[in-house]
């Protein structure tokens, strides 16, 4: 039982990171109906910016961990958001109104471009960061085994939950959120009613990038080892999470992220660690076959 609780927290941590990335996929899909395959790379850039900022802060002597992480959070979010904005501006906006396939191909090209850029600028090797947050919290005892959870996991789960709640309120209550939902329902109509669609789309990319930047920071702090290729697998799994939750649905992405994290960890813990990725992607296939709208997605009625 202690083993189960242990694995449960492992899954929640992983799922939190997937969930944060998945939101970026789902929002972009909801609003312009394309899969932004460069989103995993935006996450990777967020991780790199976080690492660079953390190392710089250590250089100038800011040693207090909470301060360093907060400063990094803000700076990484700002710079990654800039990348998200530029990607949309260069690769997707000129293709608005083109066939559905064109931005998809552009996204794949962007993904390769960003990977190569980071590889050239930062080198292909692993970049590392020593553990910043150590220590554990004891939860209690089950069957004579103490159940503990690492503080860093609690931080990751807490940051994710707060961020997701704040973001949900942002979309539900603010005027930007209203405009975004309007664009999602009917872009042409929203435009006719005076909504600046280009701005809304830009802001959607920016907010997706901000969440990905936070995921990148959490990832860097937790694993302490990143390279230019981390965005590929993490992005693919977050995409799977978005599909599982129902692509286009915000709560769906969060739920999907957590589920994918839990499935991956429990599969590795109880079945076989070698095939955990197979398990995750088998879910993608099954969902697409039997429930293409995902858990919380709604069927789109094709308007003729």
């Amino acid at each position: 039982m202690a083993y189960f609780v242990d694995q449960f927290f492992n899954g929640l941590t992983l799922g939190a990171v997937y969930g944060l990335i998945a939101i970026g996929y789902t929002m972009v899909y909801g609003i312009i109906g394309m899969i932004n395959f460069a989103h995993g790379e935006v996450f990777m850039i967020g991780a790199f910016i976080s690492l660079i900022v953390l190392l710089l802060l250590a250089q100038i002597g800011i040693a207090a961990v909470p301060v360093a992480i907060l400063v990094t959070l803000v700076l990484s979010a700002v710079f990654t958001a800039l990348w998200g904005y530029v990607v949309e501006r260069i690769a997707y906006r000129p293709l608005r109104g083109a066939t559905r396939l064109a931005p998809l191909i552009s996204a794949i090209g962007m993904s390769i471009l960003l990977q190569s850029l980071v590889q050239l600028a930062q080198g292909a090797g692993q970049k590392s960061l020593p553990p910043l947050i150590t220590g554990r919290i004891t939860l209690g005892e089950i069957d004579g085994q103490t159940v503990e959870v690492a503080v860093v996991r609690v931080v990751i789960i807490a940051v994710t939950l707060v961020l997701m709640a704040a973001f949900s309120i942002f979309v539900a209550k603010t005027s930007f959120g209203r405009a975004q939902r309007a664009c999602e329902q009917d872009r042409k109509m929203a435009e006719l009613l005076g909504v600046n669609v280009d701005k809304v789309i830009s802001l959607t990319f920016v907010s997706g990038a901000v969440l990905a930047a936070v995921a990148g920071l959490l990832y860097t702090v937790y694993y302490g080892s990143i390279d230019f290729f981390i965005g590929f697998l993490a992005g693919l799994k977050a995409f799977t999470a978005a599909v599982l939750g129902g692509i286009g649905s915000l709560p769906g992405a969060m739920l999907g992220g957590l589920l994918i994290g839990l499935i991956e960890v429990f599969w590795a813990g109880y079945a076989s660690a070698e095939y955990k990725d197979v398990a995750v992607f088998a879910i993608l296939v099954l969902v697409l076959l039997f429930r293409p709208t995902g858990l919380l997605g709604r069927a789109v009625v094709e308007k003729v």
Binding site: Y3, P131, R136, Y223, S225, A273
Partner: protein, 378 residues
């Protein structure tokens, strides 16, 4: 050392290609014919981080050649060392090997990397060139029965034996697990360590694998925790073990890990952090502390602080020079001399078995502490 790269067998192709190269060799060969002994050194001279290791091998070989030439060379003939660049890549190693053949060189030191050595050895074997590496550790290099391929350093599986014996010796009453990364290097280590433990009557509590290149090993850590594992023999590289140790310490797991020379990288400490303290691994004895190496050490230091690669390539030059002095410049006769004789070098006495492997290579257990490693006091 732990430089396994995938290799592509080029056997069929190289034959045809070489026929063309041979014509070129005849045209250029005349000018190369001197009364010298030509020896090629196959290293990554360019190509990123690995080129630093190539520079070490080059330092060792050049220093040794200079010393031998200063004493009159091999039976009065000077050694002429020529660098060929393989970038630690099997494909480039094949063209480097073809270059060696086309220049009419009969003896090669290297290559530095396992994958490059294996690929190049196909060419050397076909063309009657003798190759002696002092760093490639993949067992496969000498397992294919090529008579002209030699290795003046330990094999991966020999390290597994040493590591396994150490565990059986020091931790026989502990709860032991064996984990590998399912790659050639790691799997070989874990298999050999496991054999030793079984022979010693020890049954590991848990045997598992990890996927190389992943980041999240929390499921494995929870498993080790629930099984109360004290000692893990890990077959693999520092990238994976660094992450495993980091995640283990975060989860409050104080298991001790033991591995092989794949853990001898500073990167291990920067990922694992202070939790890496006490991690053990097998590694070649540090040559610069050997009394026999002091004279050479003084010379080598003139070119920067040498590491083990420099010392072992120095020793490889000594070995090859002595064998050539005994047997002349016919690679097959030199191979016989290598297998028959024993060779005093700066890092100890070398003897070779029938496969061309070093007999009883010197492995020492090192321990990580405070960001650096030293022979363990256990």
């Amino acid at each position: 050392m732990k430089l396994n790269k995938n290799f592509f067998s080029m056997k069929g192709r190289s034959g045809k290609f070489l026929a063309g190269v041979a014509v070129l060799a005849m045209l250029t060969g005349a000018s190369a014919a001197r009364a010298d002994v030509d020896i090629a050194l196959g290293i990554p001279a360019t190509g990123g981080q690995i080129a630093a290791l190539g520079a070490q091998a080059r330092l060792g070989a050049e220093t040794a050649v200079a010393a031998i030439n200063a004493q009159g060379g091999i039976n009065g003939e000077k050694i002429n060392l020529q660098i060929v660049d393989d970038q630690c890549d099997p494909k480039n190693a094949v063209s480097a090997a073809n270059q060696v053949v086309s220049r009419g060189i009969k003896f090669v030191l290297g290559h530095l990397c396992s994958g490059a050595s294996i690929a190049a050895s196909d060419v050397y074997n076909d063309e009657g060139v003798l190759a002696l590496t002092a760093s490639a550790t993949a067992p496969e290099l000498t397992e294919r029965g090529y008579p002209l391929i030699f290795r003046a350093n330990g094999r991966d599986d020999q390290q597994g034996v040493v590591g396994g014996k150490f565990v059986a010796d020091k931790f026989k009453d502990k709860r032991i697990a064996i984990i590998d990364d399912r790659q050639v290097y790691g799997q070989g280590l874990a298999r050999e360590a496991g054999k030793v433990l079984t022979e010693a009557g020890i049954k590991p509590v848990y045997v598992g694998t990890v996927n190389a290149g992943e980041r999240d090993y929390s499921a494995l850590v929870s498993r080790l925790k629930s099984e109360n594992i004290d000692i893990v023999y890990f077959g693999g590289y520092h990238t994976e073990l660094g992450l495993i140790v980091r995640q283990a310490r975060q989860a409050g797991l104080n298991t001790r890990f033991i591995g092989a020379d794949g853990l001898a990288a500073n990167e291990f400490w920067s990922v694992a952090g202070d939790g890496g303290a006490g991690t053990l691994f097998t590694f070649s004895a540090s040559a610069k502390d050997l009394p026999s190496a002091q004279e050479a050490y003084a010379e080598l230091r003139k070119g920067g602080e040498p590491d083990n690669f420099a010392f072992y390539y120095y020793a490889a030059v000594q070995t090859l020079a002595k064998a050539i002095a005994e047997a002349g410049q016919d690679p097959e006769k030199v191979a016989e001399a290598l297998k028959a004789g024993s060779f005093d070098t700066i890092v100890g006495t070398f003897r070779f078995d029938d496969k061309g492997d070093l007999v009883d290579p010197d492995y020492v257990i090192f321990e990580w502490n405070d960001g650096t490693y030293a022979p363990t006091k256990l």
